[in-house]
């Protein structure tokens, strides 16, 4: 395999982008873990800027992850398989619901 195999097809390229988006998230998480172990956790402006930088990566990674859930999760209700579209839609609904709850909690706790 030539090193540039992932540039040969759009599908390969999007796959590499999808996998790559996990990298900024991993760095963000390590930074977060490091910061909260410090005696005076600051979450300074650099961390805020980096968090904003990471947000699109996180959104794209979540979007691709949840979109693929329809291929992975399979179960039957009343002996009939649940449609992959319904599974994906429910995953997105759960994601949005959880985001709203966590956002609300963060705002509420910060008051």
């Amino acid at each position: 395999m030539p090193a540039g195999w992932w540039t040969r097809k759009r599908h390969y390229f999007l796959y590499v982008v999808r996998e790559f988006t996990a990298l900024p998230l991993a760095i963000w998480l390590l930074w977060l873990l490091y910061d909260i172990t410090q005696k005076t956790s600051t979450f300074g402006p650099a961390f805020v800027v980096f968090s904003i930088f990471c947000l699109p990566f996180a959104l794209y990674h979540s979007y691709t992850f949840l979109s693929l859930a329809g291929s992975i999760i399979h179960f039957k209700v009343l002996d009939r398989p649940v449609s992959p579209r319904l599974i994906v839609a429910s995953q997105f609904a759960l994601w949005i619901g959880a985001s709203v709850v966590i956002g609300f909690l963060l705002v509420w706790l910060a008051r």
Binding site: W5, K9, Y12, Y15, E19, S71, I72, I73, H74, P81
Partner: protein, 246 residues
């Protein structure tokens, strides 16, 4: 349209004479709108150069022999129409990720060993005598595995899979899809025999869900889906208290 012509660039490689594969161009008549790449290769072999080597058999997308890279994409050449490429040239190369034997012929031994390793046949703990009758199966039970049973072993998915290209120890898309086909079959009792092969680090867990195997499959099988579902199922077997059932 007697004057219509098309250029076919085909890989030529004679292991006794050539150091590495090269492309050779052939300008051939495109006399029929229903012509496929395999027809073009057959024209070259019969009218221009009889030494061109390639595999083919049924000409109707069922034997799985004529898979090649057509303009960089794995295709059954009997199902790749010249009209979709004309007036551009068509480059025909051997399937990616396999050792080359000659011209467009690849060595498929690796795939054959992998296919055999997942035991793609119905396994019974105890065979019943013929007189005991047939195994009944409902349409719903067939639907559970039907699409995975469409695989014709054409190996296009292996040629499309970068994971297999980077590590040919990987069991690969078709073999895992077929393992799932038999594991989901209500007549089969061979799951425990296949688990050590499909659950191996070089099997389902090597797949990173590129998904190109499912894109190129000429029979509409979704091997990527089979692999991810097998990951979920084997994990559930491990996690759930009743998971280790047959």
């Amino acid at each position: 349209m007697p004057d219509k012509r098309i250029t076919i660039r085909a890989t030529r490689y004679d292991p006794d004479r050539d150091e590495k594969p090269r492309l050779q161009s052939y300008d051939i008549p495109f006399y029929d709108e229903s012509m496929v790449v395999l027809d073009a290769l057959n024209y070259i072999k019969s009218d221009i150069d009889g030494s061109l080597s390639y595999r083919w058999s049924c000409r109707m997308g069922i034997c799985g022999s004529c898979g090649m890279m057509v303009n960089g994409t794995p295709k059954l050449t009997c199902n790749a129409f010249l009209r979709d490429y004309w007036p551009g040239a068509i480059t025909v190369q051997p399937l990616n990720n396999f050792p080359l034997i000659r011209d467009l012929v690849i060595d498929m031994d690796d795939f054959m060993h992998k296919l055999k390793s997942i035991k793609p046949w119905i396994i019974r703990k105890q065979e019943l005598p013929l007189g005991a009758g047939e195994h009944h199966q409902t349409n719903e039970q067939i639907d559970d595995f039907r699409q995975f049973s469409e695989c014709i072993n054409c190996m296009l998915c292996y040629a499309a899979c970068p994971v297999y290209g980077l590590n040919n120890e990987f069991l690969g898309p078709a073999a895992i899809a077929l393992a799932r086909r038999y594991n989901l079959d209500s007549r089969d009792q061979g799951l425990k025999q296949r688990l050590p092969v499909i659950g191996d680090a070089e099997a389902i867990w090597e797949c990173s869900f590129v998904g190109e195997c499912s894109v190129v499959c000429p029979k509409g099988v979704d091997p990527a889906k089979a692999i991810q579902q097998t990951k979920l199922d084997t994990t559930m077997r491990f996690v759930l208290p009743y998971g280790n059932r047959e």
